[in-house]
Symmetry: C2
Subunit: 303 residues, 2 copies
């Protein structure tokens, strides 16, 4: 049906108030040429991940519609949650899915950055593939200091925003927009309440401190459940697959006598990443996606 | 496109001669309203599994076309292989996939049985859901004695064929046709050449001798590789899922100090059976097929 598909998974700094979460979803649903596939609120993080897919113009319009609601309803001065954040709409990733290049998504991120500043007076940083300088590729570097520290940070010349004046929006902060490859949000829950264990494991497995190349990781408390979590982003699942990450976390946890009690995938996951899980644990000698009945029927009926 | 879909995975007693394997595939491809999805020859078993999906009438015509080639080219008097067999076309399962009931597939098996006898003089036994008496539900019971023993067996009144005279076809033997649920052929390869270990594990895990309810299992030698295999059919993967079967085989093998060195899925597998593997090994707390990007896009574009 649609030839060109972009995915966006904006992260919004509200994971508790149902009316705000739903008002943002409703704004996206009103836009044409885009579909809202998933809404995943996390009360501990006080953050919601929306997953939308559509034609580039549909995605652009949906992101602007979402900003309109988020900026009017979210006040970061009173926001608390486990996850670092710097904006009401904290980050807007744009992912090429079909019929669009990474460069198309970079171009889309620039248009959006300009429009977000002009319409909402929220300064915008371009990150990942859209970054204008190397130190802005990494979202964590941009976000360092968070909302509370950004009034100072934004005044430093090296942290001037890519779009907008160096003035933080008083309630909605600043936003990062960028093109990137598909990212899997994969969390591992541990059978302990010791946050130190989760933080130590996060350090051990993440690429930045010597772990797996395409893993970003943080340790969190899940206060409601009395446990801790290693919360990860897998930025290239083809090279650093889910099962290898899980097994490394499991080995590290075993050093502390701590069991893995469950995992979560937040938002969407590509089929190929789950196929890797099947191949890994079954030690399948000749796995091919063509073996899967539904996919073969689909192909056969389309041919 | 097609509203009514039946799957058939006929097993043919030729897994080595490429020209015969291909001639049978070509005969199926000429038939309308059916698609040949997979051809999986096994030289050790000297057996090929064809997977076809189509409208009931297409499947019926394809099975008859396959018989025509198989009966003219395969001579069981000179056939050898690891897998038990009683016919050139050894077994024809019919599986309801979409828009057809099990009863529709039973009816189709009866029509096919009548036609196979009339056109090729191959006696036919109805098995599984199509069975005319309880002791014929189980294919292994029908096949006992194999081609070599069937000239005697077929003369016993209790083993009179469901279609045809009690006379084995001289070169093509007899055939079983039946409606059944989706069956997964799952093999586990072991790091030993000791056939006794594979047979002992097969006995331990199969339902008939006290193991898992919906597992059938045999121990085989893979002579070419110098290893042995536990070759299984999972007759209801929803109730006896792949990962539980693999882990039980692994535990039993460990008793003999034997490692699992790989597994195979022969033919097709439903997506839901692979989803079980992902859920099991990741201990995913909130897995849903809707999390998979490709499936959500497909749904969203169709809605």
């Amino acid at each position: 049906m649609w030839e060109r598909l972009v995915e966006s998974v904006p992260n919004v700094s509200e994971g508790r108030k149902q009316d705000t979460i739903e008002a943002i979803a409703a704004a996206i649903r009103e836009v044409e040429r885009v579909r809202l596939l998933d809404v995943d609120p996390d009360p501990d993080h006080n953050r919601t991940v929306y997953t939308l897919v559509g034609e580039p113009e549909g995605v652009r319009a949906a992101i602007l519609a979402m900003f309109e609601v988020a900026v009017s309803r979210i006040d970061l001065r009173t926001h608390s949650g486990q996850h670092p954040r710097m904006g009401a709409v904290d980050v807007v990733p744009l992912v090429p899915v079909r019929g669009v290049t990474m460069e198309d998504c970079v171009e889309l991120s620039r248009r959006l950055g300009q429009e977000i500043w002009e319409r909402f007076q929220v300064p915008v940083y371009l990150y990942e593939e859209s970054a204008t300088r190397p130190e802005r590729r990494d979202l964590a570097q941009i976000r360092k200091g968070e909302f509370e520290g950004f009034s100072e940070k934004i005044k430093r010349p090296e942290w001037a925003p890519d779009f907008g004046e160096p003035t933080v929006h008083p309630t909605a902060g600043v936003t990062a927009v960028g093109a990137r490859e598909f990212l899997i949000a994969f969390n591992v829950n541990l059978g302990t309440s010791d946050l130190g264990v989760a933080k130590a494991i996060a350090r051990a497995v993440r690429g930045s401190s010597g772990g797996l190349r395409y893993v970003k990781a943080l340790g969190f408390e899940l206060a409601e459940r009395g446990i801790v979590q290693v919360s990860m982003n897998l930025t290239d699942y083809k090279k650093t697959p889910i099962p290898r990450v899980l097994e490394l976390v499991r080995r590290e946890a075993a050093r502390y006598g701590v069991p893995v009690i469950g995992t979560e995938i937040v938002g969407m996951v590509p089929q190929a990443a789950l196929d890797q899980v099947v191949e890994y644990y079954l030690s399948l000698e000749r796995f091919s996606p063509d073996m899967v009945l539904e996919r073969r029927i689909q192909e056969a009926l389309e041919s």
